[in-house]
């Protein structure tokens, strides 16, 4: 098996021919006997913002988490910027550095300041000296409008500010793609806008983004494509207007009518 699989890996599906920044090919994921992802194919082009929506349990977060292998796909391959992240012996730490991830619960390090949160990977993964790391981190914090909060600890920041620091933490590493896992779901409604504004800025600056979220209005404004998932499969996809206004599948229609009203 191994000898056959080896050369084939270099074959037609390999890296160089993949025009997409993110290419998910036939990804399955089992948790025990339960199959969360039942063969998902999804390609995201450079500078594209793709929105994934769907009922809870549809596998959208799992799919996102497979893209930096926080979740191990049971089957299938995923390429990021031409590198197969699902390859045996892939240098995960080097690859992850270029895949920014933002979590629903922010997950800032509570024992470090905002600046410390952003500089940690710059210093320990990229190997920047402290002064340079601080400079890069301050620029990243400036991009999310929080330069003046650099010395604050996460507990001294609002949820929206924490999430923006988390975005800065990812941005500082100059990712090729950003993954957002329900970035605004844990926020009070009045704090959602600031986070979405930062995401819109990133989109306008040409960042490639894959977003799991229920912010339909934001999807309409900013997304290039909306993907509707249900029961571990992509049921339909298209531009936001199309998917929201005229869902083709019954399940998507049912879902839209629930979230819109």
């Amino acid at each position: 098996m191994g000898t056959i699989a080896g050369p084939e890996r270099q074959g037609p599906r390999s890296v160089a021919q993949t025009p997409h920044l993110l290419d998910i090919q036939g990804v399955h994921k089992h948790f025990g006997t339960f199959e969360v992802l039942k063969g998902v194919d999804l390609a995201v082009a450079e500078c594209e913002l793709v929105f994934i929506i769907g009922p809870s349990g549809s596998g959208k977060s799992t799919l996102l988490r497979c893209c930096n292998r926080l979740e191990e796909p049971s089957d299938g391959r995923i390429f990021v910027n031409g590198d197969e992240i699902t390859a045996h012996g892939a240098d995960l730490n080097a690859l992850r550095r270029r895949i920014g991830m933002v979590f629903q619960a922010f997950n800032l390090y509570p024992h470090l300041t905002a600046l410390g949160n952003v500089t940690l990977a710059l210093r320990k993964v990229v190997g920047k000296p402290r002064a340079e790391a601080d400079e890069i981190a301050l620029q990243a914090l400036d991009r999310v409008g929080l330069k003046d909060k650099a010395a604050n600890y996460p507990s001294q920041l609002s949820g929206g500010q924490q999430q923006r620091v988390a975005i800065a933490r990812a941005l500082a590493l100059e990712p090729r793609i950003m993954l957002f896992d329900e970035p605004t779901s844990a926020l009070d409604p009045e704090l959602v806008g600031d986070v979405l504004a930062v995401m819109k800025d990133m989109k306008d600056a040409g960042m490639t983004m894959l977003v799991v979220s229920h912010e339909m209005r934001f999807a309409r404004q900013a997304a290039d494509r909306v993907v509707f998932m249900d029961e571990g499969r992509i049921v339909e996809q298209g531009n936001p207007e199309e998917v929201f206004a005229n869902p083709k599948s019954e399940r998507a229609r049912a879902f839209m009518s629930q979230v819109h009203h």
């Binding site: 992850r96 550095r97 979590f103 997950n107 390090y109 940690l120 320990k124």
Partner: protein
């Protein structure tokens, strides 16, 4: 002689205490040496074991759990006597000082491992995920993200346990270690008066109160505002 005078003569005979001071000083130094070396090696070994446990190698973890449970269950005195009187029969003759240091290090390490491990487990999974998603490796995440949080959470139980175990240096008296209690009982049997014991008790207070205060200070210093 009034009751009170008898009390003073029994416990606070200044002349006896004065004569006892040089010996007490020696004991104080030995107790200090034992204490510091036990705290350093016991906490270091405990942390090392807790870190080893994070790799979740089944056989290693089972061995750690057996070790920890055994040493938490056994009275330290039993281990000290076993090591001191048993080991020479298999050709390992350790000094009383070494036996007390070794046994209490192992006991403190067992308790410390459990405390550190609980601390590591209490750090949310999201912290690991956030760190790993930025490219930090497993050990880097442990060292820079998880342990700083875990250690802060565990400071209060850790200081309590450390104090409780280092007090057991007094057990050294049964294997001839010249620590505070040994010096005091020797002097007491020589003069037939409890004043050296009282002086020993005061020496323990002088030794441990600063430790208790230091523990308290550490707890406030590092009890950072929770997120």
């Amino acid at each position: 002689m009034s009751q009170f005078d008898r009390f003073l003569a029994t416990f606070f005979d200044w002349e006896i205490i004065r004569d006892f001071l040089p010996a007490l000083g020696q004991g104080f130094v030995i107790t200090c040496e034992l204490m510091v070396s036990i705290v350093v090696s016991g906490l270091a070994l405990g942390l090392l074991l807790a870190v080893a446990r994070t790799f979740r190698v089944r056989a290693v973890n089972a061995a750690i759990v057996v070790y920890v449970d055994a040493l938490r269950a056994l009275p330290p005195l039993v281990l000290i006597l076993l090591a001191y009187f048993g080991l020479p029969n298999v050709g390992i003759g350790l000094s009383g000082f070494t036996v007390v240091w070794l046994v209490l290090t192992l006991v403190l390490a067992a308790f410390a491992e459990e405390i550190f491990w609980a601390g590591i487990l209490s750090v949310r999974q999201g912290q690991w995920e956030a760190a790993r998603s930025t490219g930090l490796g497993f050990l880097q995440t442990l060292v820079y993200v998880v342990l700083p949080q875990a250690v802060r959470l565990t400071l209060p139980p850790l200081t309590n346990r450390t104090i409780a175990i280092t007090k057991n240096t007094a057990l050294g008296t049964v294997v001839g270690v010249g620590e505070i209690l040994n010096q005091a009982t020797t002097a007491q049997s020589f003069v037939g008066n409890a004043s050296p014991l009282m002086a020993g008790a005061i020496a323990y207070i002088a030794l441990f109160v600063p430790v208790v205060v230091l523990g308290r200070w550490l707890e406030t210093r590092y009890s950072w505002r929770k997120a």
